[in-house]
Symmetry: C2
Subunit: 333 residues, 2 copies
């Protein structure tokens, strides 16, 4: 295994330590139990937003802690849910008196541990709501999930709910907008290579030199089908088709198109993917009004990409456009 | 070769087309000759800034076209200098009457072709100055370069010169600040893997399963030495040591620390690198006052990283902090 790591046991805490050292103007961290928190938490009177899950998907979730997005992120070990203890601690730290929203990707361990933490927080008098993201159209159930997996759409839920909270929305309103994003977003991804987990140095699965796994999750869990490599445009057709059919997206819709890299794919290839996905949407009469392209929810060093499409309305567009200052996503005005 | 591409011949133009489709609020492009230009170019009375070079280093340079950074970027074929023709065309398009600065990485082909374009632009009455970046401390001469290579420091030159131009600086002032950044910045990188060029599907060099190339350039050209894999901290010592010695950086200096990924390395590992680099600098009494971590100047899908350190003063810090809105680097206030 060739990776820029020291002892694999120290990988997550050392990475978090470096992350917070680099972005100390925006974020802080607590070492034991481990969580990342907005530097000015708690923000009095603001709904707090906490997300988290196994590490290995960076910049998700720590990279989205900051102004206008998350108040805290709880990283587990690589591809392993955090326990309820750090989730509870983070929930308490970000509670500014207006309640706390948990944004949870639909993986069985995450859902259970966030539920336990929410129950414990409620016993301490903190009002907690949870939104479980499940935007992956590829498979109904998978290796780690009952129901659809939460994948790329999670980034959009976090951005838009974060903007609503920053604007002073109530817990009901922030949870409501998060549900609205989740209801209107669909994703699907593919892998050209497995990823190498730093814990054991082993590939997450095997794939022949000319094979692609279509419909993959963010851990390398199996997808819909394994096929021979095709042109980028053909591969994009295999992703965008099921996405459009699922909601369904229809002519006249306005959308945000998000092309995400799985960690090891160059940005230049993601733009080749974007080009064709945007064309297919245009052919369906669907207007791409906002875009996001880059490595935002990854599977360590996997080569591959996912496509996410969110149906926009004026409310979602305004919240998407709102200023955000986090280590991984930022813009002002 | 497994890549998200169509016909390799179309790779660069299709990627540029997707890039501009995704970021049409900031950038536009011209297809033949191929260049990327700020959407509102030319900006009357502002010094125009043009950079460029072979493709394969994305987001450099196209990703830095926008408000507060570059006015145009000229992408050649992968790892191949653009010819003078598109450089000249881009120079003419961004000329707002205050002259044009060329920012050129020190690679022989780039230097020659930008010089030719500058001569042709001068013949058309456009005042052009050039700054050649050469921040790589690893080797004196290399496969494609006489003198030191221009690597990670180029990103910082583009940001800071861009801020000076946006603030209304004259051509002398903008060129002067670009030279000042280049004089005060040093870099060094390493590769864990070669990159695969989409033109031929071949690795740029061979490296055994347990080997690392230290002092690599951004095309996979040879570095200082080939060693067995070590811990991240030991590898960082091999990069940061020569950087500190070279300027030299001394106790009491204030610096910007930039940890760059070569395209295929996960962000989480870059933060492990950042953590130790910041510690070594602190041990030398050098204060890290600004940071940048991510994939900003890459070698296609190479796994590896580079470290860049820029000595700051109040002037450089203020220009670094100035708002910037480009596809790949953005923050406001």
């Amino acid at each position: 295994m060739k990776k820029l790591i020291n002892d694999p046991v120290d990988f997550v805490p050392e990475s978090v330590e470096g992350f917070v050292a680099a972005h100390g103007d925006l974020v802080a961290f607590h070492a034991d139990p481990l969580y990342i928190v907005r530097a000015d938490a708690p923000v009095s009177g603001k709904v707090g937003i906490v997300s988290g899950g196994g590490s290995g998907h960076e910049p998700l979730h720590g990279g989205y802690v900051g102004i206008g997005m998350l108040d805290a992120a709880v990283p587990g070990a690589v591809f392993t849910s955090p326990t309820p203890d750090p989730i509870l601690a983070a929930t308490k730290v970000v509670d500014g008196g207006a309640g706390v929203l948990h944004i949870v990707k639909n993986y069985t361990g995450d859902v259970l541990n966030f539920e336990t933490a929410a129950d414990l927080a409620a016993a301490d008098g903190i009002e907690v709501r949870a939104v479980v993201t499940n935007d992956d159209v590829a498979v109904k159930d998978s290796l780690y999930t009952a129901g659809r997996r939460g994948v790329g759409g999670t980034v959009l839920v976090e951005k838009i709910a974060g903007a609503k909270a920053e604007a002073g929305g109530s817990l009901d309103e922030v949870a409501g907008i998060a549900e609205k994003v989740n209801d209107n977003v669909r994703s699907m991804g593919l892998a050209l290579t497995p990823c190498i987990n730093p814990n054991d140095g082993q590939p997450s699965f095997t794939l022949a030199e000319d094979e692609v796994e279509v419909g993959i999750g963010i851990h390398g869990e199996p997808g819909r089908e394994r096929i021979k490599i095709e042109s980028a445009d053909s591969l994009v057709d295999r992703l965008i088709g099921p996405i459009i059919e699922d909601l369904p997206f229809v002519s006249g819709d306005r959308v945000l198109l998000f092309v995400n890299g799985m960690g090891g794919t160059p940005l230049s290839e993601l733009y080749v993917v974007y080009r064709h996905a945007a064309k297919v949407l245009a052919d369906h009469g669907i207007a791409v009004e906002r875009s996001l392209v880059g490595n935002f929810i990854t599977a360590i060093d996997m080569q591959g990409a996912s496509i996410t499409v969110l149906k926009l309305d004026d409310e979602l567009t305004a919240l998407w456009d709102a200023p955000v200052q986090t280590p991984a996503l930022r813009w002002g005005r």
